[in-house]
């Protein structure tokens, strides 16, 4: 009962922020969709890209993609870097704010003095943040679904839905990592730095592993490797998504237990 209120509050407090994010992402998708009409079928553009150095193509996920198709264009421009980046910014921001940020601001003291278990509070906050991430991912999905028939992207809807799911799972993992770090130690800085650093390293490892073969063994540690690249062109890695989801659950559960163990920091 009390925990449900924490979920509700977590979302209500963020209505304006979420609205801005959703509008922003929808607008960005609209802009891309509009530019697609001038690139569509332009062979010279595709040739230009295929002449890029292999390292660059790997890093930006251009290798298995035909840029001049709707799927290839949206993979390159959205799903391979831009959407994950945006969703990670939202997710890590929200995850670090809801626990570490609230503690730093001194607002956790009154809540935790109420008859609610700390682990319930962590799980409730985790759920609220996951819903936020899901909502923003959904905004991208809806925008693409709306513009698909208008500009003729000819996207595979099952893949689009799967790509959105993979995006949300990637976001939730990092949001819950931010919560777990905030639960383990007070301070918002660390709760941002750890998941952001992990995400950046994961992106580089995944992008450069073909080029720098010594990175190969580390690809199992890369969230981006599990999430997969170019989902609209090559299909969605559902098994990889499950691995990420499992890691996310472990992170949040650890956070719930870690917060039980320590003193609350008060300003």
């Amino acid at each position: 009962m009390g925990a449900a209120e924490l979920v509700r509050r977590g979302l209500v407090d963020r209505t304006r922020t979420l609205l801005a994010w959703n509008v922003g992402i929808a607008a960005y998708v609209a802009l891309l969709a509009a530019t697609f009409t001038s690139i569509e079928g332009s062979e010279s553009f595709d040739e230009l890209v295929q002449d890029y150095p292999a390292a660059l193509k790997d890093l930006f996920g251009l290798s298995d993609v035909v840029l001049t198709t709707g799927a290839g264009y949206m993979d390159t421009e959205l799903f391979n870097i831009m959407l994950p980046l945006l969703v990670l910014v939202l997710a890590i921001g929200a995850g670090s704010r809801t626990l570490a940020g609230e503690e730093e601001a001194g607002r956790l003291e009154l809540l935790l003095a109420y008859p609610i278990r700390r682990r319930s509070a962590v799980l409730a906050k985790g759920l609220a943040v996951a819903l936020e991430v899901a909502l923003v991912s959904l905004a991208a999905f809806v925008a693409l679904a709306v513009f698909d028939p208008i500009v003729g992207l000819e996207l595979d809807f099952e893949r689009l839905a799967g790509a959105t799911f993979a995006l949300a799972v990637l976001g939730v993992l990092h949001a819950w990592l931010a919560i777990a770090v905030g639960a383990a130690r007070p301070g918002r800085g660390l709760a941002i730095a750890v998941p952001a650093g992990l995400a950046a390293a994961a992106y580089l490892v995944n992008g450069l592993q073909d080029l720098a073969s010594w990175l190969k063994p580390f690809r199992f540690l890369s969230s981006f490797w599990w999430a997969g690249q170019s989902p609209l062109s090559t299909g969605v890695q559902y098994d990889g998504c499950l691995v990420l989801a499992a890691a996310a659950v472990v992170a949040l559960a650890a956070g719930a237990l870690l917060l039980e163990r320590r003193d609350l920091q008060v300003p």
Partner: protein, 303 residues
């Protein structure tokens, strides 16, 4: 458990990771139906004690019970019957007072709507404006309402009158006395002896993490010091004021005499002063640190 004391601390101790011994072996019994003042200067360990009671921080030794429930092992049960006002109340900026109170009521899962309306009326809370636009006093009033609105058996209040104007302070004192009269318990911290004397039945005095005295307000008042400043028309011999009743001359500048005196000695001082032409007479409560220095000189030597 039905007749367990409101608050019971057994050798409660807290040493922070920094090595600071914020609380050392505190044993304290607070009965139901009393207003207990927890008195000490800033940094004495008042908030540490209160946060231990609410399980916000964990004791390094000892334990505590609220209404017979262990604050660690039965933390949720212990907190269910408690209302709390933090010493540094921080509320979400964007919510209005109304939204904040409703949200906290849902978080607890229990509150008394009639009682809430009554409290809001008594303190004239501002409910329709976002909290960031409220003055410190208006925020503090919301803090008091949320602590009382579910009619808890134990109220744990960390400097609850901070920021309140005198009218609201008086309203708060009335509320605390009514609460105790209903058999419920108010445990409040303060750094003002004056305030505690006006509101509490008993007082615990804490200094440098140690509970150095627990006493009734009546006997504390007898022992409590006042700072007296008398300005005479012409210089006088200050030795006329010292006697067996505990008056100490702190300083003499020209015709002005500074005294530290227990309340019981006031009559003698006034009569002694009246033998000379008096230009001004000021008597005010000594601040807590002074009282400690006077009352607990020996403790100090040992500590």
């Amino acid at each position: 458990m039905a007749d367990a004391p409101a608050i019971h601390m057994h050798a409660l101790s807290k040493t922070y990771a920094s090595g600071v011994r914020a609380l050392v072996d505190v044993d304290l019994h607070v009965e139901r139906g009393e207003v207990f003042g927890y008195l000490g200067p800033n940094g004495a360990g008042k908030s540490t004690t209160i946060r231990l009671l609410l399980d916000l921080i964990r004791p390094t030794a000892g334990r505590a019970e609220i209404l017979g429930r262990d604050t660690r092992a039965q933390t949720v049960e212990a907190r269910r019957r408690v209302g709390y006002v933090p010493g540094d109340l921080r509320l979400p900026d964007r919510l209005t007072g109304e939204e904040q109170l409703s949200s906290l009521a849902r978080l607890r899962g229990a509150f008394d709507p009639g009682l809430r309306a009554d409290l809001v009326e008594r303190f004239q809370c501002v409910l329709d404006r976002p909290i960031r636009e409220l003055s410190r006093g208006n925020r503090q009033k919301l803090g008091i309402v949320q602590a009382f609105m579910h009619r808890p058996d134990v109220l744990i209040l960390d400097e609850p009158t901070g920021g309140l104007d005198p009218l609201n302070q008086e309203e708060f004192r009335k509320l605390a006395r009514e609460t105790a009269a209903e058999g419920r318990t108010v445990f409040l911290s303060s750094h003002s002896l004056e305030e505690v004397q006006r509101i509490a039945d008993r007082v615990g005095i804490i200094r440098s993490g140690r509970l150095i005295d627990v006493d009734s307000v009546a006997s504390l008042r007898e022992r409590s010091l006042r700072r007296v400043v008398i300005r005479f028309a012409t210089p006088v011999d200050p030795s006329a004021f010292t006697g067996p009743d505990g008056v100490r001359v702190q300083s003499v500048e020209d015709a002005t005499v500074h005294l530290a005196a227990p309340e019981a000695a006031m009559d003698g001082i006034v009569k002694a002063a009246a033998r000379h032409p008096v230009a001004d007479f000021v008597s005010e409560p000594a601040d807590l640190e002074e009282i400690f220095l006077e009352l607990y000189r020996e403790d100090d030597g040992r500590g």
